[in-house]
Subunit: 258 residues, 3 copies
């Protein structure tokens, strides 16, 4: 693999609108004023590692090779949870070892993990600024992964529920448009304009699979293939979540109508 | 016109806090790692083409010549609405042909439009990532507009209501400070510290025109010239919208007090 | 001091999700297309100069030397409040003279202030775009501070309340995670796992000082040293503000349990 010519660091955090992500960027630029910094999102639901893990898993491949992802969804900051840096195929990931990277590493050909040293003067509450930002900045310079700490492996793991035999997955998150994003994979046997059932703990709903929001009626929720290539419940010009009783984490069984 | 020396792509979307705009930026940098990417806003009201059209119309001239605006306010994504790229005077615009660019093109001297080809494997729900981002990235490299697709014209159009004979315009949006922004142009006959009436479907209010928020009392709404050079209803240190019964889309007649 | 090699302008505003900060960035890049622009936050509470002053005071040192901070928390825009640019130690600050910079300048070795000229055609409601952005852009080029206007001093001042004799400070803001950030300095005599009292106008609470959120029970608020090196009230995996009756501006007395 060539070394990156235009190093890029991409932030994903649950900092929301607070200045914390701005401070992380400042700290990076203090060390490497030449690096490009971009943001995937600062609005992972607070402390919601699963939400962050799903977004990262489904997004990282749309970034340039050698992108360094700096991830701070870190309810265990200051505890004994480890801080790690990993190379997975041709991408780099820096953040807490709390499971957020485990879905990405699961099936990858090549991965290499190091444990980051925590500087003595690091804040107990802001490793984004004091641990991860310096590590990402150094990696964007001439440092290699092994310069950042001793070789290790991921300890924490996290799985999205998916049972192929019963076609049961889970609701992952609700987006800004009120769409309900699941992890049920886009099966090749799906047919557009056909009806399917979704069974959840509290309800069963019948939905027509359509290509685009525009094909919905605006009064009935519709089933779509999301841009993450999983099933999604949407509503034309409205919020599906207002009409459907599903919450993130709910099991969802996908059933064909006979 | 010279070719851009520092190509700049500027996003305007209704993606809110979701990771979708971060993914669009990733896709751009995958194709052109050298381009600068900035954001006008990701908080156009969801699906509100008129809100987006107004912001873009009133903002684009504050960006460098040759800026490429990548616009995703796109309720019709995946339908037969076309995807276009346009050069209008010395700026470029890429997005859906749903009217969002029509106020800008209306009176301009020079414009050129091409219809973007939709790649076969494009998602039906995320043309921002799969159609507009690659087009913007290519345009920021050595591609010309004509390399992106066949010459065309804008089909969809959108007008802000303005009747000069009755001085009637419309409320466009409410900003973060609770100011009510209208499209009523700043007439040269306006006098500061004079009272004017605004008539709406549900109410008539008398307002004093002042230069700055600071001149208000804090208890009575005031009339100002907005930074968009249109009339705006504000409130010193407060939210005018809490005191005035006006909604986006309402017709507003401006009347001089005799 | 050397001239900056990679000029960096950092925005801090209360513009929230509105396009105003995007427009400010456009205006900067119109003048200096080569400058790097980053954002500390656009979510200072609207018109809350104290909130902005605290964030800036506690954040600026994490940015590269020679960073130019462009600050727009400006309820007095268009009034007689002055617009200024300052060099304080090795950082630059541009914005309204409303007190927002005074805590930074208070104890610094070197500072130099100029009053910005207001261009005749500047909007009365948007100096961020028409006054501060051009000044920041010029400063990022070859202009020196003195090229921007006549030498002056800060007029407005702002203090955070802190009485060392009674150990009484104030609550400054509530962050995105519901943590309550105070300005009570991290005393060297504090001991982890010890209990302390906080007395406020309406309540007295007993809190155990812990290093990290993770050490809390999740049902009782905890006392921590914030990343700003002041005392903070937090809650493991929850929002302290939901359990504690404290508002920004409240006086808070820190007491040792005998």
């Amino acid at each position: 693999m060539e070394s990156p010519k235009i190093p890029l660091i991409v932030l994903m955090t649950d900092f929301g609108n607070d200045p914390y992500s701005g401070i992380v960027i400042g700290r990076i630029l203090q060390i490497n004023p030449l690096v490009k910094v971009s943001t995937l999102t600062n609005h992972v639901n607070p402390h919601d590692i699963r939400h962050g893990a799903f977004i990262l898993l489904k997004s990282y491949k749309y970034f340039p090779l050698n992108t360094i992802f700096l991830v701070v969804v870190d309810p265990g900051v200051g505890s004994s949870r480890r801080a790690i840096a990993a190379q997975i195929d041709n991408y780099y990931f820096i953040g807490p070892d709390n499971g957020i990277f485990s879905p990405i590493i699961a099936d990858k050909e090549y991965s290499s993990v190091v444990e980051l040293r925590i500087p003595e003067n690091a804040s107990y509450t802001f490793h984004g600024r004091d641990v991860f930002a310096p590590a990402a900045a150094k990696l964007s310079q001439s440092y290699s992964l092994k310069d950042l700490g001793p070789t290790s492996t991921l300890k924490a793991s996290l799985d999205f529920f998916w049972d192929p035999s019963s076609s049961t997955g889970e609701a992952i998150f609700i987006d800004h448009f009120g769409n309900i994003i699941t992890n049920i994979p886009n099966s090749i046997n799906l047919k557009y304009n056909k009806e399917y059932y979704l069974r959840t703990p509290r309800t069963t709903i019948k939905l027509t699979l359509v290509r685009s929001y525009f094909e919905g009626s605006g009064t009935k929720p519709i089933l779509l293939v999301s841009s993450f290539e999983t099933l999604e419940i949407g509503l034309r010009n409205g919020k599906a979540i207002d009409l459907v009783d599903i919450s993130p984490g709910d099991r969802i069984q996908f059933c064909r109508v006979e």
